[in-house]
Symmetry: C2
Subunit: 384 residues, 2 copies
């Protein structure tokens, strides 16, 4: 069930085999509607061809309003493989990723992107499967002035874009965290947020390296809108998405690293459900490729020790508050996904469906308060 | 965007146009895996043919455990059109539905079903679009001993099955509610639960007829497992699914009535996301057909007055805790969907993914308590 490495994407399968009304109907039922493709610059397309990555862009529209101008923003989601083998030095590996991401960000900028987000801990391999400390913890760096943040600050200022940079952080007390740094279009760090939910499943031995965030559910007010970052495993927790939305986010990014098997079929569901339930845009970004490590490790699944993590299947996508979504990027290639969104759609869908009004949060606040008490009794009716 | 009436189902489109490895890959990505089909009795199939409804069955498996026997249960989801025109008398309309559902339940019983659930307010047309009182409020009946409950009690006892009967209820104080009655395999009413979230959108003028439930999130312990009922609009609210799961439900039914346009593309997402997030089985059941009413009404959408509600697109399905799901029933025909599930899968996925452990409900209880205060300030960071 780990998936066929030859499958480019589900969209590719559909487009190859269906046509006419049948393709229209499949698109409507599976994607909400057919989105108009963005007309991206020839320069951007040439760069994508030259540097061998996918470049795709779509438009999510909103209705015109009488009292608010449209608030169009272009979002860029970047997915990529690691560049240097994991046997290379930490600095070599990181520099190679900086250099690769520099090119992908350039394509995003050539495509008019205002806010760009990379995948989880993009400056390193996802080495947490190994449970080894060195050299992997050496990738951890200061969120405020580590080399990856300095790299992003420079690009953000140069291009006037907001950059969301998910990294492995080492804080001033030498504690390691899974963090996303938000850098403003002026090149300044607005702040950071940390991963709220840490997995303990299969090769995702992250609780060996860092604890759950204590920073709550911060939202960042940028020049291009209010954004939040739900890092990876937090996408499985509807409450996490909800709190970011309640704090005012219009776009919630989900930088991730997840491999085939169980998670691939649920990948298209969770971030999209969050967009629907919270009247926000969500941006689901996953790694691509297979990462191999120097020493073997086990996965707690009864299988022999091995050196490969499994296939990170990419498939990054954007979902809109009306439940429509973009096609996914490839399962096997690096890519830049550009989405032009109008943030006015969030309030428009909110006013139409009105889930915020019908949400009864007072009820759930009360019920959850009861639930977490040690003497909570489940509300169960049995036949007399 | 209301959908092509000729489209039988997305599964039909895929099966007609894809084959071999490509169909396998599409099935894996879109459905989690290919489920084995249940071998249902010839008698059941003949009945379905004779009475013109779809009958389909699938097996959701769990692993064998050392200390627990398998807990296999067959669930039946019933979707149907109204039978008599809405111009007929209330009793004629209701009797025609009783009679039709009697046949569909018989097919479910011939298929070995233990728990059956009908669609929302199955004993009547979904007349809330009209905003008229009479004759529609005359469909409201006692949950304990109204004609529909008596009809179900008799079937439940005769066949030894649990029946979930979603009805329009008139309580002892003459207050109307949107209710689901749970009837044990002995024919006794175990209890009732009511709709927690009431829509106010388009033709769904239900807040004109009934208020939100005050019964909380009851779970029913039946001979075949612990079940809960999230009625219709509650599926848009992840907290509603969650509270039923926290109270111990292994299966959450979602009897619904929803029409094309906006909701069809989000229909496959929400109940499935709930199964994933809460490690439970979910059963999403929708009406079929187009209901026409005697007097015209408007839909708050700038369109002229009309007498038709729109197309209820059926597409009922079952989703499993591992994120896999059954194909949907037809968009246009009555149907009985049978799913053999092993309830042990709920704990197995819970122990594997462990979202209950990583869920941090203490954090959300605290944050929601803060949020509902009138002076709550959103947690927003701005550039200095």
């Amino acid at each position: 069930m780990a998936g066929n490495q030859e499958t480019i994407s589900i969209e590719d399968l559909l487009n190859k085999n269906l046509s006419g009304v049948e393709l229209d109907e499949a698109t409507r039922i599976l994607y909400g509607k057919k989105l108009e493709e963005l007309n991206l610059s020839e320069e951007a397309h040439k760069l994508a061809e030259r540097a061998d990555f996918e470049l795709a862009g779509y438009i999510f529209e909103a209705k015109p309003e009488q009292t608010r101008a449209a608030r169009k923003v272009r979002i860029g989601a970047i997915q990529n493989k690691i560049v240097a083998p994991t046997t290379e030095s930490v600095v070599t590996q990181r520099d190679a990723l900086h250099s690769r991401i520099g090119v992908l960000i350039e394509a995003a900028v050539l495509s008019g992107v205002n806010i760009v987000c990379m995948q989880e801990t993009w400056h390193m391999p996802f080495a947490f499967c190994t449970r080894e400390r060195l050299p992997w913890t050496e990738f951890a760096e200061s969120a405020e002035n580590g080399p990856t943040t300095l790299f992003c600050k420079q690009l953000a200022k140069k291009f006037g874009i907001v950059i969301i940079s998910p990294i492995l952080e080492r804080d001033e007390n030498e504690v390691i965290w899974n963090t996303a740094v938000v850098i403003s279009h002026t090149g300044e760090v607005i702040g950071k947020t940390r991963k709220n939910h840490i997995p303990r499943v299969g090769d995702f031995n992250e609780s060996t390296y860092y604890m759950e965030s204590t920073l709550g559910h911060r939202v960042f007010e940028t020049a291009f809108g209010k954004i939040a970052i739900n890092i990876c495993y937090g996408r499985h927790h509807p409450q996490n998405w909800m709190m970011f939305a309640l704090n005012g986010a219009d776009i919630i990014f989900n930088p991730s690293a997840t491999v085939g098997g169980l998670s691939e079929p649920i990948w298209p569901i969770e971030a999209r459900n969050a967009a629907i339930a919270n009247h926000v845009y969500t941006v689901a970004i996953n790694r691509v490729g297979t990462e191999s490590f120097p020493y073997e490790f086990t996965s707690g699944d009864g299988k022999p020790a091995h050196k490969e993590f499994g296939h990170f299947y990419g498939s990054s996508y954007v979902a809109a508050p009306d439940g429509s979504r973009s096609p996914g990027l490839s399962r096997i290639r690096d890519g830049v996904l550009v989405a032009e969104v109008d943030l006015n759609a969030c309030r428009q869908v909110k006013d139409s469906w009105g889930f915020r009004m019908t949400q009864r949060l007072d009820l759930y606040a009360k019920e959850l308060q009861e639930f977490i008490k040690p003497d909570y009794k489940q509300n169960i009716l049995k036949e007399l």
